[in-house]
Point group: C2
Chain length 882, copies 2
C-alpha cells in the first residue's frame, strides 16, 4: 500500500505533531486518554506537501484513504454523510505544526444540502436552527472554497431585516432563513455559473483542497515570514463530527485557559456563551460570560470541565488553552493547546509548576523565552490602551517614554530642570548633545542607525531611543516636524516613543514600570545554578555598574571609556586635547582629564568590588568629539554675508581645516582603536594611569578590585605588544610612586577578521580575548551597520537573502567561523586563555548558545539584558548537555 | 677549540657570504682563483653578533684568533705590524652580507705610528708620502674610532696653506705634513685626554670594535630599514695589507664595471686616477680618466685588467663592479662585486649573458627585479636633470607629467583643446571631473589616498597622479596654491609631477618615453614559456584592452563598468537613473544607457577576441555619481543671501535631500556591489543585456568572444544565487530575441571575509572566483585605505608595527589565510574552479609568488604592470619548482 495520509483520531497521539499538525495531534491525544472529543480524522501534512508537489491535486490514494476514514467515522457515529434521515455534519479545519491562529481556513456544518437540511429539521425539531446552519454553511463555504465575497451574503440578511423592520438576526424566523438560503444559492449560481454543490462528498473534497490552498494564502505567507516558520511544513486537515452549541439554552460554547495567561495566576480563566457557535464568540455580537458563571448554570458540566482542565494540564505539563462546546447538556472538547502568555505569566507559571511538582527546574527554565523577558525589564507601554502611531523608525534602545518635543539639548536641560518631561528630537545627535540626552525621557532622531551616537548613548543610559525615523522631516529653524505632509508637530507638543518597536505615537501613552517578580528572581537563581557560562554586563558608569550587579552580572565585560569623554563639562578639554598643536599642549589637556577619568574608574571599580571589570581604552575616531563639518561650513558661508568679525571667521575656518583634516571617508575603518593608542601613546598612558591610581586608592581602602585593561581593534600582534609595553611602564611608574603593588591583566578585543586569523600570535601577549562581534560582523560581511540597516538590510530580510539580521543574531556560518578560529588558535597558544564576547550578541539567546558551544567563558551584554542572558545561558547549558 | 671567528683569505670562498660578508667572500674567492689580491683575513659576522651579545666586548677567543691570523699575514708578506724596518700597514673595512655602500666605517694605513712612519720613509724614500699617509691615518682613525670631528683636522691644513699662501694640498712638503701630524696628535690629546695610540695592535683592536659598532650607527639603521635588511645579519671585518696607488706616477687606483651599468652595453666601463688613493677618486678633487685611457699609459696593466675583468665576469656569471690599485706598476684587486644597474641594463645584460652561453634562461629571468621594470613602462623623469621638489604626496599612479596648473575640469578640457599641456590640481576629484582628468597630463590632489577617485581613474587611464599632497593648500576662489607659506603658485604656472615617487616639482622637467627593448621582449617570451600562472590585465576601455594585449595579457581579469558611467556625456543620464522617483523613470534612464554600455562592451570584447574578459557589474555606491553635499550646502546658504530665484533654491534643496539620503557613514561598507544589484535588479539586468547584445553582434561578425560576468561584493551565497538567476533570465531573453546561442560564465569576487569563509557554499553557484584583495585587505584589517594611508599607516611602517604596506604587498599571514581558505573551500566544492586575483597585488612580485604557491590560475593587474607580472610569475614558478 502507498503512503499513509489519513489518521483516525484514535490512531494518533501528541507526539505526532509533525504529521498531524498541532490541532490534530492534540485531538488524537485527548481521544486516546478518553476525553469527550467529537470523533473525526486528520489528513496529514505529508498529504499537503504531496498535494503541492502533484500540482495541487488530491491523488487517488488520498481520496481512497479519506473515504475509508469517512466510513469508519460513519460507523462510529451511526450517522452518514448525505443521509437525509441521520446526516453526518462535519467541520473541516486546518492545523499546522506550529500554531498560526486565524491564518488559514475552516468550514463548518459541511454535509448540509437541500435534502439533509430537512433531515436536520426532523432530528432537532428546530427548523430555525437547521436553516440558519445551512445558510451559515453556504456562506462559509462560498467564502472559503468558492472565493465569493462575504459582504454579498451579509447584505441579503440586511435587506431582509430592513424590509421586516428587524434590527437583530435573532428576530429572523425559520422561514426567513429558508428564504435567505434560496437567495444565497442564487448568488452562488450567479457568481460561479454553477449551482451550489449538493453532493456532500464533493463538498468535502473541495473543502480539503481549500484548506490545503490556504497554506499559501497571502496572510499565511506573511505570518510565516514574520514568525520564521518554514514554508515546507504544510498544514494538516482535521475532519470532525459537528457538535452544536447553538441547539438551545442547554447548549453553549467557550474558551478557557487553565491559568491566567496575563498574570500567570493559577485559576481557570475564560469565557463562554450559551446557545451559540464558536464564531459568535469571536464576532463579538454578544458579550460572553466569565467561565466561573457556568458553575451556576450547569454545575455538572462545570465540574466536569474543571476536572478535564486539570487533567489536561497534568497531562501536557503546561498551561492549556481549551475550546469546548456543550450540546444539549453534553460537554465536548474541540481543541487543547499550550496557551500563549505574557512574559510575566510565563515566568510565574513555570515557577509554580515546579513548586507543584509537575515539571523540574530545567524544564521551567526552557519554558521561558528569554527574548520575551525584555518586556519585563524596561518601562513599557500599556498595550491595553489605544495609541495613534504616526511614524516608525529603528528600535534603537528599548523602553518607552512620553514627553514634550524639544529640538535642542540646552532646552531639554532647562525644561527638565523646570520639572517637565521631554523627548529630544534631532536629525542626529553629537557629543555636544549629551546633557540633553541625559535630561530627556527619550531620544528620537531622523537619521542614523542602531549604532549611531544617539543609539549607543541611549542604550548605555537605558533610555528609550528611536533612530533613523526618516519619514519625519525636521525644520530646526521653524522648530517643526513634518510627517508625510499630513501632520505638523511643534516644539512643546507631546509625543510618546516605544524604543522596543520603533513606534512614534501622538500624545501621552500609559507606561508601566518594570519589576522583577519573586518568581522571576527564583527562576534566575535556578538558571545560575545550572548555567556553565558566566554573564557580565557592558557598563560605562557607576549607576549602570550598580544596576548590572543588581541584575546578577558577575563582572563588567565592557566598560567603554569614550562615554566618559563625552560629558558636557569635559568635551571642551577633550577638544583641546585633540586639536593640540604639539605634544606639550596635548599633555596639558590630558593632565586635566586624568583626575576626571580616575574618579570615573574609582566609582565603577568600587561598585564592582570583588568582580572583574574590563576597561576598554579609547576607541572611536577623534573627530567624533569635534563639531560637525557641515554646520561649520554653513556658519562660515553665512558669516561672509553677515559681515562677521574677520577674527571669528578665520577662527572658524581654522577649526574647519582641522576638523576636515581629522574627518574620514570610512571612520569605522579609520584612525581609531589601538591605532590612536599607537600614534598618540600619551592618551592611553593617561587612561592607564587613571585606572591604576583608582586601583591604588581603593586598595588602600581595603576594597578588592580586578581591573582588566582591554586594547581595542588589534589586528596585528605588534599593536598589542606595543600597547602592553606602554601600560606596563605606566603600571611600574604608579607602583613606584605610590609604593603599592597591585594586580591587573591586559587583553584585547578580537573585532577585525585579521585578529581572529592570527589569534595564535596575539594570544602570546594577551591575558584574555573579548570578541567584539558588532565590529567583527561589520568587517566580516563588509556591512556598515549604520548604512546597511537604513538602506538594504531590511530588503535582504524581507526577501530572505539573509534569514536573520546578523547584528541581532550572530551569523554562525561566517562570523561564527572566525569566533571558532580565533578561540582555537588562541587556546593553542594558551590553553587557559579567558575568552568572552561583548558585542550586542552577548544578550541574544541563539548567539549565547553558539558562544557556549564554542567554549567561551562568558558573555557580556547591556545591564537590562543580563537577566535574559542568565536564562539563555542556562538554556544553552541544558540543551547541549542532554 | 671554540668557534672559528677568523678566516684567512685563502680559507674562504664566494659561497661563504653569510659568514664573511660580501666583500670578504669575494676577496677570498679572488685569492682562491689566483688573482692578485693583497693578502689579508676576515673576522666573521658571527664574531660581530657575539660581540653584541657579549655587551660589545671582543672575547678572548676573538683576540687570539686575530693574533694568529696576523702572524700568518706577517709570514706571508714578510712585513710585521709595528716593525720599524719593514712595517705591515693594513686596511680595516666592514663588509656585510648584503651590500650597504658607504654606510659603515673603514680605516686605512693602520699600523703607522711615530716609529713605523720613519721605516716607511726609509722603505719608500718618499718622506712626503709617508707623512701624508700618517696624517691621513690619524685623521681617519680619529674620525671613525675616536669620534673626533673631521673639520678640526681639515682646518689645520687650511691654516697652514693660508700661512704659506698655498691653495692646493699638493704644494705642501714632507715637512709641512710632519708638522701637521704633530698638530693632529695634539688635537687627539686635547679631545680624548689620551695621546694618539702608538701601539699598532691596540690600533687594530680599536678599529675592529669601531667597525662592529658602525653596524648600529644611525645611517646604517636607517639604510637597513629602507632596504628591508634584517638587523641580525651583522657585519664582517676585513683586514688586508695596504697597497698604495699614491706612490708616484707608476701607481694609481680605479673602479670599473665589466659592462655599462646604465645601458647594459657589453664593454668595460670605468675610470681611474694615477698617483692617488681611492678616497681621492671619491672626493672629486681631481677628475678621473676613462678606463680605456689606461691602455696608453700602461698597456701591460690594462691588458691584465681586461683579462681579469673577463675572468671575473665568467667566474661570477654576472656583470662585476671592480676596485683596483696599481702600486709601482703592479696591479692589485681590492674588491669585486655584482654591479648595480638600471632596469634597462639589467634586462640587456641578462639576455646578453644567455646569448653568450654564460647563464641559462631561468637564471636570466631571476636576475631582473620585476619592481625595477616599472621605470621602463611609464614616461619617466630624466634623473640626470636637476629638479626642484616643492612637495611630496602619495604616489598614486606611476608616470611623470608636466603642464600648466588648472583648477577645474572644464578649463583643463578647454586648454587641452587649445593645444596646451595641463596638470589638474584639485582638493579631490569627483565623477564630474572625468573629462578634465582625461584632458590633463597628470592629476594632483591634496586629499584622498591611493584608492581615491583621482587615483583609481588615473591608474585606469595610465595617467600620472599624486594624491593626498597635504602640504599644498588650495584656494579655489583665488586660484592659488600655498606651499608651507613659502611659495604661491597660480593657475598657469608650470609644474611637473612624478606619480612613481609622489614628488611635485617646480617648472618643466625632461621626460623620457618608455620603450620595450628587443631584449626586454625576448626576456618576457622566455618568462611566458616558463611561468605556470596566467597574467591578465585590469582594463576598462578598448584602448587599455589593446595596450594590455600588446603587453602580453592573456585576457582581462577585471573590467570595471563604473568608469563607463562616469563619462561626462553619460553622467546626467546616470544621475537621472539614480534619482528616479519610481521604477519607470529608472527604466527610462537605463534604456538610454543600454546602447552606450553595449558599445563599450563591444569595443572591449572585440579587442580581446579569443581571450576571456571578466566584466564586473556596477560596484560603487550610487552617491559617487552625484554632486558633493558640502558644495550643495554652501550653494544653498549663499543662495539665501544672494536672493536667488526661489525655484532654483528649492530644486537644490530637493537635490540635497536626495543626495543626503544616499550618502553613507562608511561608503566602503555600504550600499554597493551586488547589494545594488539585488535592490535595483533593473541596473544589473541592463548591464547583462548590454554584454549579451554585444556578444551576439560580434558573434555574427565571426569574432570569438568569452564574456565572464562577475558579481561584486558577494558575502552570502544567496546574493550570488539571486543575481545568477537574474542574468540567466536576461541571457535567455537575448538568445530568444536574437535567435542566437552564445556561451558565458558567471562568477564572483571574493572580497569580504565572509565570502572566503563560506566559499564552499558560494562555489556551488560560481563558475569562477576572483579575489579582490584590495577590499579584502581593507575588511580583514579593518583599514580604510583612504584613511589609513593619510593617517596612521606611514607611522606603522616607520615604527615597524607592520613590516610591509598590506595594500602593496599581500599580507600572507592574515589576508593570505583567507585566500587559502577561500581557495580550499571553493575547490572542495568544484575541484576545477578557476580562481584568480584582481587586486593591485596582482602586479606585485611577492604577492604573485604567494598566489602561485596557493594554486590560483591567474593574476590580473593594471596594463602597465603586465610585463612585470609576467616576469614575476616566471620567477615564482622557477623558485618553487627547484
Amino acid at each position: 500500500m502507498s503512503k499513509k495520509y489519513v489518521y483516525l483520531f484514535h490512531e494518533g497521539s501528541k507526539e505526532m505533531r509533525e504529521i498531524l499538525g498541532g490541532k490534530g495531534a492534540n485531538l488524537a491525544e485527548m481521544t486516546r486518554v478518553g476525553l469527550p472529543v467529537p470523533p473525526g480524522f486528520t489528513i496529514s501534512t505529508t498529504a499537503c506537501n504531496d498535494y503541492y508537489s502533484n500540482g495541487k491535486t488530491l491523488t487517488e490514494s488520498m481520496i481512497t484513504q479519506v473515504n475509508q476514514a469517512l466510513d469508519s467515522l460513519e460507523k462510529l457515529t451511526g450517522k452518514r454523510l448525505g443521509d437525509m434521515d441521520n446526516p453526518l455534519l462535519v467541520s473541516v479545519r486546518s492545523g499546522s505544526v506550529i500554531s498560526m491562529p486565524g491564518m488559514m481556513d475552516t468550514v463548518l456544518n459541511l454535509g448540509l444540502n437541500d435534502d439533509t437540511v430537512k433531515g436536520l429539521v426532523e432530528l432537532t425539531q428546530n427548523p430555525r436552527f437547521a436553516y440558519d446552519s445551512y445558510r451559515r454553511f453556504i456562506q462559509m463555504f462560498s467564502d472559503v472554497v468558492l472565493g465569493i465575497e462575504h459582504y454579498l451574503f451579509e447584505q441579503e440578511i440586511d435587506h431582509l431585516k430592513e424590509k421586516k423592520g428587524f434590527s437583530e438576526d435573532i428576530e429572523l424566523s425559520a422561514d426567513d432563513w429558508k428564504k435567505i438560503v434560496e437567495k444565497y444559492k442564487k448568488i452562488v449560481l450567479n457568481k460561479t455559473k454553477q449551482p451550489f454543490p449538493q453532493d456532500p462528498k464533493l463538498q468535502l473534497e473541495m473543502a480539503i483542497r481549500a484548506v490545503f490552498d490556504s497554506w499559501n494564502n497571502q496572510r499565511a505567507i506573511v505570518y510565516r515570514k514574520i514568525n520564521k516558520i518554514p514554508d515546507h511544513l504544510g498544514t494538516a486537515v482535521n475532519i470532525q463530527m459537528m457538535v452544536f452549541g447553538n441547539m438551545g439554552e442547554d447548549s453553549g460554547t467557550g474558551v478557557a485557559f487553565t491559568r491566567n495567561p496575563s498574570t500567570g495566576e493559577a485559576s481557570l480563566y475564560g469565557e463562554y456563551l450559551m446557545n451559540a457557535q464558536g464564531e459568535d464568540v469571536v464576532a463579538g455580537i454578544r458579550t460572553p460570560k466569565p467561565i466561573n458563571n457556568l458553575k451556576e448554570i450547569n454545575p455538572e458540566v462545570f465540574k466536569q470541565f474543571v476536572e478535564i482542565a486539570k487533567q489536561l494540564e497534568q497531562h501536557y505539563k503546561d498551561m492549556q488553552d481549551i475550546e469546548f462546546t456543550i450540546e444539549k447538556g453534553k460537554l465536548y472538547l474541540l481543541q487543547t493547546r499550550t496557551g500563549k502568555r505574557t512574559a510575566q505569566a510565563a515566568v510565574k507559571i513555570a515557577v509554580d509548576l515546579v513548586h507543584e511538582g509537575i515539571i523540574d527546574k530545567e524544564t521551567a527554565i526552557l519554558r521561558v523565552d528569554p527574548e520575551q523577558l525584555e518586556q519585563l525589564l524596561h518601562r513599557q507601554i500599556d498595550t491595553s490602551a489605544t495609541t495613534k502611531v504616526i511614524a516608525k523608525g529603528l528600535p534603537a534602545s528599548p523602553g518607552a517614554a512620553t514627553g514634550k518635543i524639544v529640538f535642542d539639548a540646552d532646552k531639554a536641560e532647562q525644561q527638565n530642570l523646570a520639572g517637565e518631561q521631554v523627548i529630544l528630537v534631532r536629525p542626529e545627535t553629537t557629543p555636544e548633545d549629551i546633557h540633553g540626552i541625559n535630561a530627556a525621557q527619550g531620544i528620537l532622531t531622523t537619521r542614523g542607525g542602531m549604532t549611531s551616537h544617539a543609539a549607543v548613548v541611549a542604550r548605555g543610559m537605558g533610555k528609550a531611543c528611536i533612530t533613523g525615523c526618516e519619514s519625519l522631516k525636521i525644520d530646526l529653524k521653524k522648530e517643526e516636524i513634518w510627517i508625510n505632509g499630513e501632520f505638523t508637530l511643534k516644539a512643546g507638543d507631546v509625543i510618546s516613543i516605544d524604543g522596543s518597536t520603533g513606534k512614534v505615537m501622538l500624545g501621552e501613552v500609559l507606561l508601566i514600570d518594570p519589576e522583577l517578580s519573586d518568581e522571576f528572581k527564583e527562576l534566575l537563581t535556578w538558571a545560575d545554578q545550572i548555567k556553565k557560562i558566566e554573564v557580565r554586563a557592558n557598563a560605562d558608569n557607576p549607576d549602570d555598574a550598580k544596576r548590572s550587579r543588581e541584575f546578577g552580572a558577575k563582572g563588567i565585560g565592557l566598560c567603554r571609556t569614550e562615554h566618559m569623554f563625552m560629558d558636557s563639562k569635559r568635551i571642551p578639554i577633550v577638544q583641546k586635547m585633540i586639536l593640540a598643536e604639539d605634544i606639550e599642549e596635548r599633555r596639558e589637556a590630558l593632565a586635566k582629564l586624568l583626575p576626571m577619568q580616575q574618579s570615573d574608574f574609582r566609582g565603577i571599580l568600587k561598585e564592582m568590588a570583588g568582580l572583574p571589570v574590563t576597561i576598554r581604552l579609547l576607541d572611536p575616531p577623534l573627530h567624533e568629539f569635534l563639531p560637525n563639518i557641515e554646520e561649520l561650513l554653513v556658519d562660515i558661508t553665512r558669516g561672509m554675508y553677515e559681515d562677521k568679525q574677520e577674527n571669528d571667521l578665520s577662527e572658524k575656518e581654522k577649526l574647519l581645516r582641522k576638523v576636515r583634516n581629522l574627518s574620514e571617508f570610512n571612520p569605522m575603518l579609520g584612525h581609531r582603536g589601538c591605532r590612536l593608542g599607537i600614534t598618540f601613546p600619551e592618551i592611553y598612558a593617561m587612561q592607564a594611569e587613571a585606572i591604576f591610581n583608582a586601583t591604588v586608592e581603593l586598595k588602600r581602602e581595603n576594597i578588592e578590585v580586578e581591573p582588566e585593561i582591554m586594547i581595542p581593534l588589534v589586528g596585528h600582534v605588534n599593536e598589542l605588544k606595543l600597547m602592553k609595553e606602554l601600560i606596563i611602564r605606566v603600571a611600574d611608574k604608579v607602583k613606584a610612586e605610590t609604593n603599592t603593588n597591585f594586580d591587573f591583566t591586559i587583553g584585547t578585543m578580537i573585532e577585525v577578521p585579521r585578529a581572529a586569523l592570527t589569534a595564535d600570535e596575539i594570544a602570546e601577549h594577551a591575558d584574555f580575548f573579548s570578541f567584539g562581534t558588532n565590529d567583527l560582523t561589520q568587517t566580516t560581511f563588509g556591512f556598515s551597520r549604520d548604512d546597511a540597516e537604513g538602506k538594504f538590510l531590511q530588503y535582504y530580510l524581507d526577501h530572505k537573502v539573509l534569514s536573520d539580521n546578523p547584528f541581532v543574531t550572530l551569523d554562525q556560518n561566517g562570523v561564527g567561523q572566525l569566533v571558532k578560529i580565533g578561540t582555537k588558535l588562541g587556546r593553542n597558544t594558551k590553553p587557559d586563555l579567558k575568552i568572552g564576547i561583548c558585542g550586542e550578541h552577548g544578550g541574544e539567546k541563539r548567539s549565547i548558545e553558539f558562544v557556549y558551544k564554542t567554549g567561551l567563558n562568558y558573555v557580556s551584554c547591556s545591564p537590562y539584558r543580563v537577566p535574559l542572558a542568565r536564562l539563555a545561558a542556562a538554556q544553552a547549558t541544558i540543551k547541549n548537555n542532554s
